[in-house]
């Protein structure tokens, strides 16, 4: 494999920085500072809990917005601005370009999340005045959020290979929400007497990425431990799904007529 995906990834990250994407960190910081100061005065007994819940939820929501809205424009923008043609005239294969674009956005998300993690840690220290061993669960919860964001980015990139940003956003959001309710959909099927519906809901359950499994916010907020088995299973699940989506995206993009 050539170094081209790496070059594309770095440039995608630089482009995101130039587009002032990381300005969301200012909002995150203000949110954390506000919560740390206000919550103790308006509620009872949940100062630490709110900081963790709010911090992790904000990391997830901010990341999700970035992953979807930037992800769906990754390929489309290059075609629209006609920069893709000059890029593809260089010794780079289409799949390498896609992988580079994907890695660039994931790198942006990782750096963004790292800064938010520091903000969350500072707010937590301000409220609790110390860190405890169980706070390690928060880092695992953040890692799970990152896995989910990487997966969402891959879905957005997949749709951006053949659809407009508007439709890609809708499709990605639809798959994300379906993925959250995957377990409920299967349970719903199990309640019916129709073997067809039961089969269809089971297929849907295994087809859509199960985002519910990546949510450990409540567990981390209560300082409970997250089993190691879940860490490697979620990692493997996300990796396999991402590879699957990138392969499918590359196949579609390679066959796409760009004229």
């Amino acid at each position: 494999m050539s170094a081209m995906p790496g070059v594309v990834a770095i440039n995608t990250f630089r482009e995101a920085v130039r587009d002032r994407v990381l300005y969301n960190l200012v909002f995150f910081a203000l949110l954390m500072i506000g919560a740390a100061i206000i919550v103790g005065q308006i509620s009872i007994g949940i100062e630490r809990l709110v900081i963790v819940n709010l911090g992790l939820s904000a990391i997830s929501i901010f990341g999700l917005v970035m992953a979807i809205f930037i992800g769906v424009g990754l390929v489309y923008k290059e075609i629209e601005k006609r920069t893709l043609y000059s890029l593809l005239s260089k010794p780079i294969r289409r799949w390498e370009f896609l992988v580079g674009k994907y890695a660039g956005l994931v790198l942006t998300l990782v750096i963004n999340t790292a800064f938010m993690t520091l903000g969350l840690a500072a707010a937590l220290f301000y409220v609790a005045r110390s860190f405890v061993r169980s706070d390690a669960s928060i880092l695992i919860a953040i890692y799970f959020i990152l896995l989910a964001l990487a997966l969402v980015t891959a879905i957005a990139l997949f749709f951006s290979c053949f659809s407009s940003p508007m439709l890609s956003t809708l499709f990605t959001l639809a798959i994300y929400i379906t993925g959250i309710f995957a377990g409920d959909i299967r349970d719903f099927g199990a309640l019916t007497h129709s073997s067809f519906i039961r089969g269809a809901t089971s297929v849907l359950y295994y087809l859509v990425p199960n985002f519910h499994d990546f949510n450990s916010i409540a567990v981390a907020a209560h300082g409970e431990s997250i089993p190691f088995a879940l860490v490697w299973q979620n990692t493997l699940y996300a990796l396999m799904y991402i590879v699957l989506l990138l392969v499918a995206s590359s196949a579609i993009f390679s066959r796409r007529n760009l004229k």
Binding site: I44, G45, I46, V50, N53, S57, F181, I217, H222
Partner: protein, 301 residues
């Protein structure tokens, strides 16, 4: 556009924006004055399960928001001196369904629900809430202590109170005093001494100033009740010796049955009433706890 007119427009905008904001503020205040009371009593979504589904995985954050709303609702009602809390149970129900491990909602929520003086006077719902908390967090001894307290103080059910304390003592970190408390309740049931022990535990295990004040006030009341009982026993002894009740505390002192002038926890002397009964000074803030009223069953959940 010339430079001068550009400058004029900028100054105009600079003046107009704050003025418009001030006008908006005045208008919003007028609208709020008309609609605020109605809005406060509203809870658009009452189904905890529905809220859990639409939270899209952010259920624990939503639980914190609903719990904060419950605290604000309770505090607002107290500030308005309105002890009718129709939304308290739904708010607590939603908070604890969204996050079954939200311990403050069980602990403080039970207090808000059960208190007759500063709460909804629904110990039955408080018991239900704490039992739900125990089902979701069986290892948390504090919830068993809350349940024992509710049974003991509000429902006067000493058997169930003893069982709750005993169950709490069996949890991994259950303190030894719970077993001791269970044994005492089994032997003696309700007594001033047990009440003081239980309220001392409430005082020591809480950091919330409102609940600590409630516990401290109750402890003062219990101390006064105990003092009065002891003074009445001395007055009875006086009657046994002299054939009549004492006419004043000075008489009791002169007889040698009493040393000094007994004062309540606020520092005011107790007042001797006819027939050897004792009461509190009119200026004292101490209040002897009332027997809990029967919960109004007509109130909907």
């Amino acid at each position: 556009m010339t430079n001068a007119s550009q400058k004029r427009s900028s100054w105009l905008a600079l003046g107009a924006v704050p003025l418009l904001f001030a006008a908006l503020f005045a208008l919003q205040t007028r609208i709020d004055a008309r609609t605020r009371t109605e809005a406060q009593e509203e809870l658009l979504l009452r189904s905890p399960r529905a809220i859990e589904k639409i939270s899209l995985g952010y259920d624990s954050l939503l639980a914190d928001i609903y719990w904060t709303r419950a605290v604000q609702y309770y505090g607002g009602k107290l500030a308005d001196q309105n002890l009718h809390f129709p939304l308290l149970w739904p708010l607590l129900d939603i908070s604890t369904t969204l996050d079954p491990k939200l311990l403050p909602a069980y602990h403080f929520g039970a207090m808000f629900l059960s208190e007759p003086r500063v709460g909804a006077n629904r110990p039955d719902l408080a018991v239900e809430l704490v039992k739900r908390g125990i089902a979701a967090n069986p290892d948390r001894w504090g919830l068993y202590a809350d349940l024992g307290f509710l049974y003991y103080w509000y429902l006067r059910d000493y058997g169930d109170a003893a069982s709750a304390y005993l169950a709490g003592s069996h949890t991994p970190q259950g303190p030894a005093w719970m077993k001791f408390m269970a044994a005492r309740l089994d032997q003696k049931g309700g007594s001033l001494e047990n009440s003081r022990m239980i309220w001392t535990q409430v005082y020591e295990s809480n950091s919330d100033p409102k609940i600590r004040k409630l516990a401290l006030d109750t402890l003062k009341g219990l101390k006064a009740e105990q003092d009065e009982q002891e003074l009445e026993a001395v007055a009875s002894e006086y009657r046994r010796r002299f054939g009549r009740y004492p006419a004043s505390i000075a008489e009791m002192r002169d007889s040698g049955l009493l040393r000094g002038t007994p004062v309540d926890p606020d520092g005011y002397p107790y007042v001797l009433e006819p027939d050897g009964l004792f009461g509190l000074n009119a200026r004292s803030t101490v209040a002897i706890p009332l027997e809990p009223r029967t919960p109004p069953r007509s109130l909907a959940k």
